[in-house]
Subunit: 174 residues, 2 copies
Amino acid sequence: MGGMPVVMEGALADLGAWKTDHCSLVKALEVVGTRSALLILREACYGTTRFSGFAGRIGITDRAAAQQLRRLTEAGLLAKRPYREDGGRTRDEYVLTEMGSDLFPVIVALMQWGDKHLQDGPAPLHYVDHETGAPLHVELRTETGDTLELEQVGVRKNPAWHAPNRTPQPNSPS
Amino acid sequence: MGGMPVVMEGALADLGAWKTDHCSLVKALEVVGTRSALLILREACYGTTRFSGFAGRIGITDRAAAQQLRRLTEAGLLAKRPYREDGGRTRDEYVLTEMGSDLFPVIVALMQWGDKHLQDGPAPLHYVDHETGAPLHVELRTETGDTLELEQVGVRKNPAWHAPNRTPQPNSPS
DNA sequence: GGTCTGGCTATACAAGGAGCAAGCCAAAGC
DNA sequence: GCTTTGGCTTGCTCCTTGTATAGCCAGACC
């Protein structure tokens, strides 16, 4: 069992005394906090670029696909790029930006968790190093390469942090 | 910029020819695909265990908290544990199971992505090795410790995979 | 000019998440 | 036995996500 959580360092230890006002997780969930957004990004990582590919492979309606593609493009995770098939007009396809492909670890982490806890049998797909075939995993590591258990992790305030717009408030990070 | 996606190996290369029927990501999103579910789990990782702590710190209503705590408990990410404060009746608190704490990398990965792409200034919080203070990161790594770019990643069918209930269909993994 | 096609939009609707506010309930303590 | 307290439920409402179905629109080709 888990049980023991992370170590909240310093002033963070008193959970009643601070708020998670600027939490990056909250901001992230505002952008990719829906099922269809993450599935669109999975598809984009798989190499899907065209409207009908997204809608068809994910199994969502045109409307849902169009809406999410627009949202993700506006947010900067996808970029439109014109293309042209012979005998067709020029259209836009959707390719990952750096911001979008930086989400790949999130997708693999969720996939890995689902593989372990939600599949009846073995995992259907593997992520590997394409060159060597070595299996890939998402891991929490320090620069020196150590992986940690949850209870060995510490959370601390970033001393360089300051409130985004004026009035640097001292007491509400995250 | 990103641009190049992962390498779909073998039969997976033809995206039109297979479906993502058993994708672990889809299953994972059915359990933790909502904002409030992930925020509850963030709080559980931070050490919050009690009803009012979840509702109050996340800033959601009692109703939403109760609903998610029930869902996550039924799904096996949280477990109820009785406790008793002096002068109070016994009640249940919610602690992470192994299944729940295995989601921590997902939370950190999302947080890290938000830190990089959605914060106006520096990140408000840091995750570190509590012992040494060394910063923690989520990384895609092979067993030999190499980290990869997106275009070096390969996706392949698991040869050991079989459809969960009878009729092992040959053509629809993930 | 007419038609076809793929990408996208429009309308109408159902389901679920979540807010507000109030109420319920099982001890503990008076 | 009445009140208090914290945890949880209920009724009602709004908003978002997603479905189903249909329609629009800009070219390319005829």
